[in-house]
Amino acid sequence: MKIGKAASILFLLLISFELKGASSGAGLEGMLYFFAFLILFILFRSPKIPSLKTREIAGIKALEEAIGRSTEMGKPILFISGTKPVPSVSAVAGMNVLGRIAKLAARYGTPIVSPHNNSITMMAATEEIKEGLRSSNNEELLQDCSIFYLTDSLFPYAAGINALTSKVRPGAIFYMGTFYAESLILTEHGQNTGAIQIAGTDSVAQIPFFITTCDYLLMGEELFAASAYIQNDEASLRSIFMLDLAKAATIAYILIKIFVVNL
């Protein structure tokens, strides 16, 4: 079955060699890379391949602790989605983490407050939260949650969140997604209110600021791996291993290429 799938993809690959025109700017190399990735993904869904132990990511472990502490203090939690909207991949990854947060929050009975700066992100977040609450059998909590849209413009959005933070005084604040300059406005103020802050971002330029103002940080690719970590089942853990494999392959490719170029 799996081999059948892989074979059909290989077939498509061969067809595409035939049909490839010069206009699209993509080289043969890119295509091979993509297909290698795709095949890796499909093959690795097979349960025959054992998953490996992975290192711990402190930020993911801390999610529950932060929500627990928030509950003890009787305060809500605040989830802030990134600036890049769904269907950007960073936003999708952030939404997956939100799903986990919602599940935990439902278990603890802690309401979630979540402002957004994009309509589609807001709708996706609503669905994630609803689903999280449903899977923990605490759908009534939705009444206490508030998921809403503020404005598309970045700095009014940041100002709105700051005012919101001052008002609701959350026990924990989560930032997941791509952030730009507004990150320091948000995190600096969040830190002053004394909330635990956990951030996950793929915007490298903002990492120094997140490091200095947040308690935990999922850096770069850790945000993308986070959702697999969270699901913690065989298949997801295998996908982490696969990501590693792709990285190792990239490293090897670089080294080989250096060798070839200098030959």
Binding site: S16, F148, P156, G220, F224, S227
Partner: protein, 218 residues
């Protein structure tokens, strides 16, 4: 069916879009061009829902008196004022909305943003401590770049330039060191992040397309 249909849409849509980058079939290219237009049209309709949620929330705050009623009213009134002005007078240069934009929105946004200058100076004083090896490295690199980016750095370099066997050599060459940090170690690590993040993006994309990642539709 309820779950299968969206999964199928994601799979077919995702595969078509991924393959069209590599395969030159006119039909696929046309679909691709159409899809780009569709995205724009769909986004407009989602905005209606977002605005509805904004208004509802402010209205709820006003009704339930969770805060002083002045605040939600401010948002509601300013929102509707701008929308009505826009509908009746348009958005061209010199229209009321354009005037509000130039004279209120732009300077006020800039002011919010300028809070950052204050925050960064307070962070410099409170948070940037040489607590351990890695934070010391961060600090030193930051200070070198701080000096290297201002004209004073150029001046110091000229002042401390000495001539060794006919070659000019600056002892305190902050601009030079800055250039080195930015173009050597910085390029290395940023490239590592680019690789890691891109691979993360590609693998997450594939997980979404193949339906492994389906949190959004349950």
């Amino acid at each position: 069916m309820k779950i299968m249909a969206p999964l199928l849409i994601v799979f077919i849509g995702g595969m078509l879009m991924a393959f069209q980058y590599y395969i030159d079939i006119p039909l696929l290219n046309n679909i691709y061009k159409g899809v780009l237009d569709w995205h724009m049209v769909i986004a407009v309709f989602a905005l209606v829902i977002a605005v509805k949620s904004l208004i509802e929330r402010q209205w709820k705050n006003f009704r339930q008196k969770t805060e002083h009623p002045v605040y939600p009213l401010t948002t509601l009134i300013s929102f509707f004022t701008v929308v009505f002005l826009g509908i009746f007078f348009g958005l061209k240069q010199g229209s009321p909305v354009n005037f509000i934009y130039n004279n209120l929105l732009v300077p006020l946004q800039a002011t919010i943003f300028s809070l950052l200058a204050f925050y960064i100076s307070s962070a410099a004083y409170r948070a940037f401590r040489a607590k351990n090896f890695s934070s010391t490295v961060l600090l030193i690199a930051a200070m070198i770049v701080v000096m290297g980016r201002i004209p004073l750095g150029d001046l110091i370099a000229t002042w401390t330039t000495i001539s060794i066997s006919g070659k000019d050599f600056a002892i305190l060459d902050f601009p030079g060191w800055t250039r080195w940090i930015l173009t050597v170690p910085n390029v290395g690590i940023k490239r590592a992040f680019i690789f890691g993040i891109t691979l993360g993006i590609v693998s997450t994309s594939l997980k979404v397309i193949l339906g492994i990642e389906r949190g959004w539709l349950k």
